[in-house]
Symmetry: C2
Subunit: 225 residues, 2 copies
Amino acid sequence: MLNSEDRSFLSVNLPFWEKLTASEQEQTVVYSYRTHYRKGVEVLSPGKECLGLLLVESGQLRAYITSEEGKQITLYRLLPLDVCMLTASCQIKNMNFDVTIETEKEITAFVIPTSFFHTLSEKNSAVKNFQLEMMAALFSEALWVLDQYVFGSAAERLANFLLEHSALQESDTLRLTHEYIANDLGTAREVVTRLLKHFSLSGLISLSRGSVTITDRAGLLAVGR
Amino acid sequence: MLNSEDRSFLSVNLPFWEKLTASEQEQTVVYSYRTHYRKGVEVLSPGKECLGLLLVESGQLRAYITSEEGKQITLYRLLPLDVCMLTASCQIKNMNFDVTIETEKEITAFVIPTSFFHTLSEKNSAVKNFQLEMMAALFSEALWVLDQYVFGSAAERLANFLLEHSALQESDTLRLTHEYIANDLGTAREVVTRLLKHFSLSGLISLSRGSVTITDRAGLLAVGR
């Protein structure tokens, strides 16, 4: 059960909170809890029971798949205010691929336990819709990663472009329009916008109107190769 | 509107038919239609309106993504009795990656138009659950393809193994247990089972108890490289 401060955090940041009935909101407050994990903890791993829906308050997590030989591919990162639904999806039919989600920094997060989350999602179609949208986002993200791994070039070029400009301007914050970057890279503005958004979701950069700030130089170097 | 023969096809093969109310079944019969496409038609393509849920009666389709430079990655194939939900998913929030679905052979299929399908899915939670499960399957499939492209080896080895044994036995039908294949390839039986299922869903082989039949030799050669 959450205290009033935590309840108010949830009410502001849980995407479907407004669509819950008053009694569903009360139940959510009763069943949810706030928790803390150290760095390096697997909150989702093959064969492990599903924790529940996670709403990240602080810290950072990484979702990845692992090859037979133990190699990893990062799918996405979770940052403060991100919601993770995969940690509540173990029982979904057809979810038959193993994803691991690990804390990359220590985190605090709110957990809506799996069984209660599913009761909620069966009763309230807005919650089920949210699940479907999250699953669609995961599918899109997986395709994006696939595209980048197989076809590569655009993300690599953008990462290198940002690193070069940062070196040139001797600053982490670059004032650049998407149009300008697109022209320089010889790609479409939409591609640049999508890549920048992806970099931002991955915690590599932060975006504000008309500027890009590098927040994870090592990560960007890894993308640039 | 479907005739009684088509209605009976739908009632047997539409996965959520039994979970529809009698009046929803009647509406589905009224709004759905049976259609035919020649080989090489894009039933889903970027920027095109969403046709609706497809239930394949005969023929074959291929779903793929395309790089900026026009290269393609096959995501999966649709065979008779398969249901395609992506062709009814254009309006789902967060579905922001372009997938093309093209007829590889001429097809006949039943179409439940997008707008009616969504009315159905809003009214009947079993339909929404079906959507969520299909989306989860797509996500899993995308991860599988990613795994194969990046890590490669297991599927390649299995394809080559099947082709070699087919040459050795001078037959398309091979009597082999998953255990036997796993031992030969030096991998886990579960991996072999998953790969065989994937090959089968992709139309490369057909499976029956204790035997594997090669149905698309060229496709298998492509996997084996």
